[in-house]
Amino acid sequence: MEKVIQDIWILNNAGAVLYHRVFDKKVDEQLFGALMSALNLLAEELEKEGLSNFELKDKKYILTKHHGILFIVNSSKKTKEKKVNEELKSIVGKFFTLYPKEMFNNWDNDVSIFADFENHIKDSLQDTIDKFEKAFW
């Protein structure tokens, strides 16, 4: 079962990675360079708030910026964009519920506080399918 959203990066305005979840850890160096370059360009475009996307190799990347925090996710090209957007929206919502934007005014740059985010974004559908696979399928 392929996940709707595969990898996630959450960065602040200064470029610090607050949280990331990468499923495919073997990323080609050249690909990573191209990815960073594309992200840099798109992040600049996303000065305020909005959504942008691009395709690289076999994946589709979607970026969105809220309250100065940049959310980058990728998915398979085959996955419907609407589903990816819905899940990204849910991730953004959960992030600001757990870490309100006001928190970043006094934040001491300690990224360890975001480590727990993993437990909150576990896709409930994926969770259900995992359970069915373990017990029945």
Partner: protein, 244 residues
């Protein structure tokens, strides 16, 4: 009149025998699945369907009582009480109630992230009250009490299987893989069919209350819903194979 009743029970007995065979096959397949997976949820599913199987078996036994003209003297003894509980479907309702409660646990474990405290207590209390009603609130020949028993179990079925249905449909809509879509759709059909069983039985009992001998079209619809539910369970739980 008595002969017609025996004939109707005989037809019912044969019909239910086929249901028993379907249910037994499903039970064996779940058992096989349990030996492969050794998972607590597979074990739970096995216990759920064992209860359903026992419910069907006791329903069938009640037909055997009538067809073989096996009667007991209504002297208030334990044997007479047990005979009445079996012949008026009460033992079957008891096993179904247990199965419904276990289905609630299964539903929470596969579809939810944890128990909702209020829902949990309502489900437990309602389940206990249902067991008390079906096993104790009984009067020989009182069809009204039986209709209420069927309706109580029907409501319990809806309480657990309506959310199960909703979750299955949500998952069916959200998932993209064909195998899993079919599995969730089958589970949705299973949930819907299970809810129909006791509604149909209750309607059949209403006809008995109004003077019919029973075994109306609703009796057969109830068992047809059971067959559909069994197939739904097979295609939902057993048939799909994980790609991993």
């Amino acid at each position: 009149m008595v002969e017609l009743n025996i004939i109707l029970n005989f037809i019912g007995m044969i019909f239910e025998l086929f249901i028993i065979i379907f249910a037994a096959v499903l039970l064996v397949l779940i058992l096989k699945k349990y030996f492969i997976k050794r998972h607590k949820l597979t074990r739970l599913l096995l216990i759920i369907f064992l209860n359903y199987f026992l419910a069907i078996l006791f329903s069938w036994i009640s037909k055997v009582f009538v067809v073989s003209q096996l009667n007991v003297i209504q002297d208030g003894s334990i044997i007479a009480w047990m005979y009445n509980l079996i012949s008026d479907f009460r033992i079957s309702e008891f096993f179904v109630t247990i199965a419904i409660f276990l289905s609630y646990i299964l539903k929470v474990n596969v579809f939810e992230k944890g128990y909702n405290a209020l829902q949990k207590y309502i489900t437990i209390i309602y389940g206990i009250l249902t067991c008390v009603y079906v096993l104790i609130i009984y009067e020989y020949g009182n069809t009204l009490f039986d209709i209420i028993a069927f309706l109580i179990v029907f409501i319990y079925m809806v309480m657990v299987y309506a959310p199960f249905l909703r979750r299955s449909i949500e998952s069916y809509r959200a998932v993209e893989e064909k195998t899993y879509r079919q599995a969730f759709l089958s589970l949705a059909i299973m949930s819907f069919s299970f809810m129909l069983i006791f509604l149909n039985f209750a309607i059949d009992r209403v006809f008995i209350f109004l003077g019919s001998l029973g075994f109306t079209v609703f009796y057969y619809l109830a068992w047809i819903s059971t067959i559909v539910g069994i197939f739904g369970a097979y295609y939902g739980y057993i048939r799909p194979k994980s790609s991993e």
